[in-house]
Subunit: 408 residues, 2 copies
């Protein structure tokens, strides 16, 4: 099945090299496809690492191991396998990951726990060790490649390559952050898996890097949803090589810490949005802004209830300003809300205020807004100061075609 490029795709940005980061790709042949499917990233000695991982309790060995590895805070390499997620493969899957870690460690002269591995693709099939071994040998010998090559190689059924960058001035030095990510295009009987990697030449202690990544994650990756199904393999890792020469960032008291955290958040937000823009079957990018909730956390849960509602998502697909479905989604979120204080709008125009449809509601600008590609839904709960923004895409025939009109 051919999937057309998402109408919400953005061009791959110009992204500079990051000193201390060397990118290579190779063909391991995890699937029968004529493309590179193994990404090997070498990182300078002393590189800090931080990570956030899926909360799915049926996670892959890669996630289990990665979660332990980040605690030591140092990384020398990243390997990403595309075409096989190695999830639900028991001890055999774990052996394959450990083999990759050992092979890279021997090549670089580092400890295996400094080698991070991710895999994405079909589940229930142990990653073939022989292909992984030969693929890695080919990667070791390969020429360096571009960010675009790496972004293409980590993808599975993504319809476009996804990258983002930002800069910040830290301790008088300009530091650069580059990130790549893969999202949720799925034509094999697999789980959509989000894998994201951010690289910077900034010097940052692992604890601070983790703090920044965890904070950014809450406002970016944790605020997107395509279909409410949480993958077993979701992983975002941040690597800081320290080559920019700034005094290492160790806390928010360090000079430039705020600027760095903001730049990291910016890259995470860009990457998160790109994943939504390549959501399965997506025709519209939807921003849900919730204000007036009893807390930010409550606003976040209400926002996700709206963004995950099949009836809201199909209404947007149908360009229908169906605020009644938004009311329903607010009401089912399980959070404090009062029907008679609730206001709902689209594209900056209120359709209902304080529990009643507006008598002078002008649907023409709303209808125009819903014809576009970028949709906003505004919800004011009317109870407090809590606010949150989440992002999703619409639910279309494309989603059904990708996930149902296919037999394994």
């Amino acid at each position: 099945m051919d999937i057309a490029t998402s109408p919400l795709a953005l061009p791959f940005p110009a992204m500079p090299e990051i000193e201390g980061v060397t990118l290579r790709v190779a063909r391991a042949g995890y699937k029968d496809w004529g493309r590179c499917d193994l990404t090997y990233v070498e990182l300078a000695e002393g590189t800090s690492v931080a990570g956030v991982f899926t909360k799915n309790v049926c996670c892959s060995s890669e996630v289990e191991l990665g979660r332990e590895q980040v605690k030591a805070g140092r990384a020398r390499a990243l390997v990403v396998n595309a075409g096989n997620s190695n999830a639900f493969t028991g001890y055999r899957g774990r052996e394959a990951v450990e083999q990759i870690m050992a092979q890279v460690a021997a090549n670089l002269g580092c400890t295996p726990t400094q080698v991070f591995v991710s895999s994405t693709g079909v589940i229930g099939v142990p990653l073939p060790k022989d292909r992984a071994r030969a693929g890695l040998d080919a990667a070791f010998a390969a020429a360096e490649c571009s960010w675009r090559d790496a972004a293409d190689t980590i993808g599975t059924t993504d319809t476009f390559a996804k990258g983002a960058m930002a800069r910040a001035v830290v301790d008088g030095k300009t530091v650069t952050l580059c990130g790549i990510i893969k999202g949720s295009g799925m034509i094999a009987p697999d789980m959509a898996t989000m894998l994201g990697y951010i690289f910077t030449d900034a010097a940052a202690e692992p604890g601070f890097l983790q703090q920044c990544l965890s904070t950014a994650n809450l406002a970016t990756f944790s605020c997107i949803t395509v279909d409410s199904d949480t993958s077993t393999s979701d992983t975002v890792l941040a690597f800081a090589t320290g080559k920019a020469g700034n005094a290492p960032l160790s806390s928010f008291d360090s000079p430039g810490a705020d600027a760095f955290a903001a730049a990291l958040n910016d890259v995470c937000r860009q990457l998160a949005h790109l994943v939504v823009r390549d959501g399965e079957g997506a025709q519209k990018f939807i921003e849900v802004r919730v204000t007036g909730a009893v807390s930010d956390e409550s606003a976040h849960r209400i926002g996700l209830a709206i963004a995950n509602s099949p009836l809201v998502k199909t209404a947007i697909a149908g360009e229908d300003a169906n605020w009644g479905r938004v009311v329903m989604a607010v009401g089912k979120a399980g959070e404090p809300a009062d029907r008679d204080k609730l206001s709902i709008g689209f594209g900056g125009v209120w359709a209902a205020r304080e529990g009643l449809p507006l008598a002078d509601y002008d649907e023409a600008p709303v209808a125009q807004h819903l014809k576009g590609r970028e949709i906003t839904i505004e919800v004011d709960i009317g109870l407090g100061d809590g606010r949150a923004t989440v992002w999703t895409c619409d639910l279309t025939h494309g989603y059904i075609s990708i996930n149902a009109d296919y037999r394994s």
Copy 2:
């Protein structure tokens, strides 16, 4: 848009009259359609009532009032409006309900709080009082009608009429239970609303009737899902006229109480299944059986996570034995589970046991099972004795067509 009758439809059963229950229907003209849309049920004096209602906090005035009314335990009438849900209509919507209650009370010589009202259909439009008044007057003057007529009249875009009956011997008397329900066919920009009504000639105290209904609800209506979106108007009411002449059931110590409770549960289960069978776009009826969870409640939540997963539901639509998506759904449920103890099967054949795909897995009988209309998914968590069964339908292009290929 014409929606074909669900391929999962069942014929309307033969249902006897219930002494003390008089059914009438009329045309209020809530929508511009050539059919009856107001159902009026007169109940004998002394009829007990019990109810369960949506937990959606943005519920309709009908639900708010009904929740209060059942506390008194007595009912003389039921009015069901189809074509307008009267939800999110503020004080004007509430006035319309109170007018209906007063008009029926005057007609019957009862108190208004003994008149129960439900509405289903478009939201955000106050129920027109003039049409309600004229419709009720027509209903008062109408001839008695059949269960089938009433089941047709409470429906909105349901593709078939839904009824169920059961009998039990209580205190030496045969009592009869008849139920009708409407479900989730939706071609207007409305919320799917489940309204169910069960009538029996048994004599039962309101407290005991409520206890039986609440218990049955947990095992039936609370175990079905079409699309995870909870309506603002869901209501199930049970009425007991007492005309069978048994000594009134007041607790599970009363003779025949167990038989009555079982019969009520049976009717509720039949009605719940009928709603799933008319789920929007449904092509397959799916039973999810969860065993081995740490508790029944945990099993229930895991079952709903599976039944609500778009990726599981599209896989079944595609007749794809994609147990990996079931693993994912178990893992995201937020309940205790251990990937390496998990077993997944379809139609009684295990595909994966204790965290690994079965080496000798024979996919042929599973593929055959998935081609059918009635699908079972078996999940054993491997941790305890908790078990639950939930029911849903597949997610198809029909769901998208009904909910997105339509403009308000």
